[in-house]
Structures are given as structure tokens and as C-alpha cells.
């Protein structure tokens, strides 16, 4: 089994993702960067974008986040995001429905997420 890095994606409401991954690609404010196992310690701020989780060379999970912070250590990466949507389990229709009942900022994010599907 290949070496893995532990991904944790946490929002104020809950721990959204907690799993081992081969590589995680994160939307940093200065550009996308990939986190592999044994990455050097890094604290990066993130912009709105999609976090991609790789397993066996393929993307297995895509999670849209609305900016946040990534705390990278050699063992894993912890992403703190105020809002996040798991694109692999929600449909664009569902997101649009949620957007209608949400506040302005939240609705904007959800609509963008629906487009990114």
C-alpha cells in the first residue's frame, strides 16, 4: 500500500471529511498546490475553489470550499473552511434549492458550487 496523507476537512458545523489519501490538491490563494505524504509544514490561506482527493492516480472526491485555511504537516493536511459542499454526493438541483433558502453569501457560494459540478 502506498504511503498516504491524512486529510481532514472541518467546517464550523462538523468534520466533513476525515480519510487517508494519496494526494490532496488544495486551492491556495497563490495557486493550486498538491499535498503528498511527508509534505513540509505549511500554513496557507485558501480561496474559493475545489479540493480534490486523489486515490490510485484518480480523483475520488471533489469538495468545493469557500476559502479557508490549510494546515499542512508531514502527516496530513487539515482544511478549515467556513462553508463546504461535497460535490460527489450532491446534485446541482439540490444545491440550487438550498441556495434559495439561504442568505446572500451562502446562496452565491451554493450556486457556484452547482456550476462546478
Amino acid at each position: 500500500m502506498a504511503e498516504t496523507t491524512q486529510l481532514e476537512l472541518v467546517t464550523p458545523a462538523r468534520v466533513m471529511v476525515s480519510k487517508a489519501a494519496e494526494m490532496v490538491v488544495v486551492p491556495g490563494t497563490e495557486g493550486l498546490f498538491g499535498v503528498l505524504p511527508r509534505h513540509s509544514a505549511l500554513l496557507a490561506s485558501l480561496q474559493r475553489g475545489v479540493v480534490e482527493v486523489y486515490e490510485a492516480g484518480k480523483v475520488i472526491d471533489r469538495i468545493m470550499i469557500d476559502g479557508g485555511l490549510a494546515d499542512v504537516t508531514p502527516e496530513g493536511v487539515t482544511i478549515l473552511a467556513e462553508r463546504a459542499v461535497d460535490l460527489s454526493v450532491t446534485s446541482s438541483q439540490e444545491l440550487k434549492e438550498r441556495a434559495q433558502n439561504a442568505g446572500d453569501a451562502e446562496a452565491e457560494f451554493l450556486n457556484l458550487a452547482a456550476e462546478a459540478l
Binding site: 458545523a13 468534520v15 442568505g103
Partner: protein, 292 residues
Amino acid sequence: MPNLKDLKTRINSVSSTQKITSAMKMVAAAKLRRAQEAAESGRPYAARMRSVIASLAAKADKNSASPLLVGREDVKTHLLVMISADKGLCGGFNGSIARLARQKINRLESEGKKVQVYVVGRKAADSLGSELAGKTFARIEGVQGGVIDYGNAADIAEKIISGFDDGSFDSVSMVYNQFVNAISQKVTHTSLIPAEVDASDADSADEGSFYDYEPEEAEIMGALLPRNLSTQLFSALLESSAAELAARMTAMDNATRNAGDMIDRLTLVYNRTRQANITKELIEIISGAEAL
């Protein structure tokens, strides 16, 4: 001797009170489960945020770091964020918040500092009453009860930061009830500005002293510190509303039990009185018959 009709009325009124308290207890219990889940699942985010802040604060240079992190040296005015419930009937919940707030206010004032209070939730402010006259920085109600929105916490944080920036106050702390379990709450006082760093967080921060930053440290701080403030407020709101429901559940449970005891006592008196009346009538009849 109390008359039977009055007793009957008392018993009826106590038993309808009991119905209300037991309904309130059940409502609180049902809501508590959701609130407790929310409070518990909100903890990891707040905890991780604290440890990141701790690792930043541990290395921060006192002179160049953002005042949001290390605070201002000369504290003239202090802002106290007081989080209580909007509704009563929850035992000592609001009272203990008001008591701690009063203590803190008095202590700060005896140190010669001015105090402003950010009132979140109505009840504790009501019981402090005129003590808060001229000290209320802002007041917000109706954020608790139901689902707590992160946006509310962000609004409060924004207001605090703009007040801090224009110098209305130089340090900020909050008092709130922390949810421990269904039967106990802990009244907690936490410093928000300067950021509170506890020993365990600082320890774990030591290992990660060789961080790279992207972008620059200062920029990350600028984005992170306001976010940290709203996170801490959000988690305090979650804790507080779970604690409120737990307190209400316990208080209403006690009230229901007390009402039950009272009904038992009243029923006893009622039966005795009824028996006494019957006996009295019998004696009257018998002595009347004997007199013939």
C-alpha cells in the same frame, strides 16, 4: 378548616401547571438532542482553529504582531460579551451569567478601567438592569433558539472588530455557559482579544515551529484572526444554547416533580377534610336521634 371547593380548585390549578412544566420539559429534551449534537460537532473546528492560533501566537513578535492577537498594551476600556438566553424558566442559567458578569465588571472598574458590554440574549441583561446603564455597547437578541447560524456569529465578530479598530475598547472577553452534560453547565470566562492561548495548545504548537507561510505570515494573520473571533463566538453560542436547553430540561423536571408532590399533599388534605365533614354530619344525625 379549608373548604372542599377551594381545595379542589387548588388541586386543579396545580395539576394544569404540572402539565405545562412537563410539556416544556419534553420540548427542551427533544431540542436538546439536536443542540447537543451541534455543539459537539462544532468543537473540532474551534479546537483546530485554537491550535493554529496558538502556534502563531507562540512565535508572534509582541511588537509587530497584530493587536487582535496579542492585544494592546494599555487597556483603558474592556468589552465584555455576555451570552445568556432570551427566555427564562431555565433554573440558574441566566442568573449565574449575570453574577459572573457583575463580578467581572466590578473588578475591572476597581482596576480603573471602563467597561462596555455586548449583550447577546435578553435575560442576563434584564437581571442586571440599571447596572448596565451607559455601558451597553450593542445588543442582539433572537440568535439563539432554533438553529444557530454561523452568519450571526460573523456579524457579532465584525462589529467587535470594527469597534476594536476605532479604539472603542482595547480588550475583549466573553462570559457564557459551556455545555458539560445534560445536568450540568459550566459558566466560563474566555479572553477573545488578546487571543487566549492555553498551555496544551501552546505545547502542541512547539513541534510545528518550522512552518512555511503562503502567502506572508502577516497576510494569513489578517485573514485568520477575524475568522478565529467569529469561530470562538459561534462555538460559544452553540455551547450556550445546548446548555440553556439542558438547564431548562432539569428545571422543568424539578418543577414537574414539585407539582406532583404538592398535588399529593393537597389531595391528602382534601380527603381528610371530606372525611371530617362526613364524620361531623354523622355525629349530628346520631346525637339528634339519641336526643329523641
